[in-house]
Assembly symmetry: C2
Amino acid sequence: MNDLTSTWSGYVQEVERLLAQTLPAEETYPQVLHEAMRYSTLGGGKRLRALLVMGACAAVGGDVQKTGGLAAAVEMIHAYSLIHDDLPCMDDDDFRRGKPSNHVVYGEAMAVLAGDALLTEAFAELARMPEKYGVSPEVTVRIVGELALGAGSQGMVGGQAVDILSAEHTPDEETLRYIHSRKTGALFKAALRGGALLGGASEEELSAITRYGEWFGLAFQITDDILDEVGDAEQLGKPTGRDQDLGKLTYPRLYGLERSRQMAAECVQLCLQALNGFSERAWLLRELAAFILQRSH
Amino acid sequence: MNDLTSTWSGYVQEVERLLAQTLPAEETYPQVLHEAMRYSTLGGGKRLRALLVMGACAAVGGDVQKTGGLAAAVEMIHAYSLIHDDLPCMDDDDFRRGKPSNHVVYGEAMAVLAGDALLTEAFAELARMPEKYGVSPEVTVRIVGELALGAGSQGMVGGQAVDILSAEHTPDEETLRYIHSRKTGALFKAALRGGALLGGASEEELSAITRYGEWFGLAFQITDDILDEVGDAEQLGKPTGRDQDLGKLTYPRLYGLERSRQMAAECVQLCLQALNGFSERAWLLRELAAFILQRSH
């Protein structure tokens, strides 16, 4: 019964329900702000980060019923980062997940504020974990720290900052690695570590999950780059690869397509290796790692 | 020895030292981001919110040595809000505390990110309270919740959102009250409640401190409006009152200068009344309330 597709789609619905309940209703004053927050958080997204929370909690034998608050918080942080990344002063993207970006619909000021409020609400939801999900205050505090670290100036925001700063001149490989490991990898890792902590992971399990997260993040980014390149080369008529347009350094540009595919496969192998000591309960994390590779084809 | 001026100036130095230590160093990669974060947080500001934390903790007989983390976090949240408020898409202010705004120095993208990172770092610092300041995890979680509520979509960010939304048409009195109570009042209240919780406040003490905070916020805002108006009327040659320029509704415009001054004095009386049940240990909160009134002259 350990089927990735059905587990995933079931969990997407569950996360959607949780987010819809947790976020202030659209009727709650100030309505436009809450509408903007919900617009960019609900009704879209793979909920990959929420799934990593659940997968890590399950992998260490924890109770996945306790993961709802953290899963919602992680998705809110992800949604906030997309809103701010899309701003005209940042990546200036008018579309996201097939619909107009937040600032296109609500204006720049409201988009900045909706992002700010989502980030803040994420921590509010973490603080509710003891009450709503029976998580101990000790674990709650540790998870607040993990998420703040993953999302902060030496995590996700740091990655976006370096990405912006290096847009003027093509970054070297080390910088590329930094951007990737922080911009997407840091929140993956925080989601995984948070889920493992919720599940009562030992320090040994936690460090294995952390290694998994590092390889997972890299594999994800390489396949992301490949998809951008392949979409470009094979599907003429579609808009040209955005990364290339922006002069961004990508794995295919650095290593070529074939070597990039190999590298992604190697990363996934290292993900699986990191889980060697884990039982069948780590099936979801194993499936998710394998799934990343399928993305590149 | 309970002297407001010397306590205040000593505490300003202490908070400055804490913030300088807590914020990532300018040499820490990515340097520009950390420079931007430090630029808007250090070397300026009255540290009023930090002082409210300390005052509330002292008022309920708590150990003020434990307040450092919360004081730093509150000041980081305040600094982030100023950076985002000053953005061109928001209030479009090029100067702050007598120096160029964050976005003028570092560009809009970095200013958005510096604000995001400061908000995130505030929660990271709260999560360190058990380790650094011996605060219990239970109290830490509660304080995370208080700050997230005060800073979030129905607190500070909500106030800014309504302020932005009502810029097009002069708001009615109810809206004005909402903006004020949220935009500045909510963080005051969170700082006070957080400080009281740190000090081990009873529920009764907590609700008295909350009432104090509500009147304090209103008094502060009224005097702020008065200062804007008075600076305009009495100091010709200086730039015209900014609030009036923006067509913002203010207390003097609504009630006249004299009645506004009366109202501020009444609010301060209600602040002091809220502290009736407190001993001499509430001296700092009493002095701070009285200080607000002096501002208006």
